[in-house]
Symmetry: C2
Subunit: 304 residues, 2 copies
């Protein structure tokens, strides 16, 4: 670890993200003790066997009471209860962070920490695959990925500095962002695309007779990859970032209706402009990403 004072880490929720962070923290510092908390003993035993955690606890209080660092990596809808129960049993100098995809919701829930709310640093690593579960946890999951930190005015600067360095240490580029901006940007770049993929598969498979997948090319496969994501996680994100996501869906339907208007009018110029500009922006983005040293390999790996 970058700070010697962090010896005991509690990972609350040992899945893909919690497990990957545990592995990456372990690689950064062999001497820390990592305790995994969860309700599923089989999963915790598996995490032990995989060397992801050193100890496990199925009682939250026992898992976190002496931790220097607590990382919440449970589904969003489980977070309010965890914050509520942790408020009374943590060390006063604890540092708490999370990996949730909707920050407004998590910050609101974290207020149940009471006086320890200032020790909580909201974080969101923009990493992951459509796979879930500790078996897919990888030490390098966060390498060359952005982690967004969304501190609030109450957030302790020392705690913020620690969490910032921690994410950098596991390979992330960190960005500080306002909570509401985070939720709006992610609604567009992550939450909406996932819902679009789920909706496409839903629509195409409603009439089974058409065997839509059979005649699908590679583009369709990539497009719908994220429809294989964890339904519980996405239900929770929909509930937690509800307003920003609904705004994005509304804007998207407007865009589709504009495109449909071009089709209705056989408007060649309108279609060309939309397609050409989208291609240019997308190609520009890809060129930038590829230019980021080493990044290309990583994003390739992600596709499977």
């Amino acid at each position: 670890m970058i700070d010697n004072k962090i010896n005991r880490v509690a990972i609350v929720g040992v899945g893909l993200i919690g497990g990957s962070l545990a592995k990456a923290l372990r690689q950064a510092n062999r001497s820390i003790t990592i305790t995994g908390y969860g309700r599923n003993t089989d999963n915790l035993k598996l995490a032990m066997k995989l060397g992801v955690i050193d100890l496990y606890e199925t009682r939250l209080e026992a898992a976190v009471h002496d931790a220097d660092l607590v990382v919440l990596a449970v589904p969003l809808q489980a977070m309010p209860e965890v914050f509520k129960r942790m408020g009374t049993c943590l060390r006063p100098d604890v540092i708490i962070t999370d990996v949730g995809s909707a920050k407004g919701f998590v910050v609101e829930a974290a207020k149940a920490l009471g006086s320890l709310f200032s020790r909580f640093v909201p974080a969101h690593p923009i990493a992951g695959t459509e796979q879930s579960g500790v078996t897919h946890a990888a030490t390098d999951l966060f390498e060359r990925h952005i982690t967004i930190l969304t501190p609030v005015p109450e957030t302790d600067r020392e705690a913020l500095g620690y969490v910032d360095r921690m994410w950098q240490r596991v390979g992330s580029q960190t960005v500080i962002m306002d909570v509401s901006r985070h939720d709006r940007v992610l609604a567009g770049t992550s939450h909406l695309p996932h819902l679009l993929a789920f909706a496409l598969v839903d629509m195409l498979t409603r009439n089974e007779q058409d065997e839509p997948f059979r005649y699908a090319a590679g583009g369709f496969r990539d497009f719908t990859r994220i429809a294989s994501s964890d339904p519980v996680m996405w239900r929770d994100i929909c509930l937690a970032n509800n307003h920003a996501i609904r705004d994005a869906i509304g804007q998207y339907i407007d865009t589709l209706q504009r495109l449909d208007g071009y089709l209705e009018a056989s408007d060649q110029a309108g279609l060309m402009k939309l397609f050409t500009e989208a291609k240019q922006r997308r190609d520009h983005y890809l060129a930038e990403r590829t230019a980021m040293a080493g990044n290309h390999k990583r994003t390739q790996d992600e596709t499977d």
Copy 2:
């Protein structure tokens, strides 16, 4: 070639698909002569240099008049003019085929062939990448991909048999399908996803300040890959398969509005049902694809 009688092949439009088919036909039979037709001399010279074609012609009549097999691989909107001009200058025993993505439109245009309409076999190889141009042409582009043939009652059975064997010879699995069914199925599995990707990039980049791409994860990259496709090709597909695509857009907006209704009502069960079923169907499809011998590698390659 599988039939000895095919000695001279004319590729009308030497881009990614036309060029790949030329290379694959060459591999199947070293003795054939392949003439490339196009309006861009630089592109034709490049195709010669790459060994994709043996000769080139910028006059259509000269390119096709003695051909045993003519393959149309120009953008859809260029096809009517090509059919019209070819009708008078082909051999009576010629076999004509195409690679267009919208078959109703092409079949209608092919009627300009007059008495040679029966020698035309409409075909659509479900292959390609977001890249275009002869430099990306690949001998194995069609391997382990489906090619859909959509003969009409007038189609000569001998010509159909030849084109069927030709696509199998270059590695495709062929499927015979009704023209209108092809256009409806492809509107859903190919045309709609491309438009969704273009629309997403358009929507997210309209407000440049949000730098949407910067905070995008791998899922977004895959999702929008197809927004880097050729704008001309997609404009043409929109015009050529207009009705089926508009039907698909309408159904998709309905699905999004249903999803938005679940969000509005915070309907956990509705969200879970939609996400779980989509994931199951998508995972099932992927498992089937992976089970197809050797297919996994190919679809992986396609992602970049």
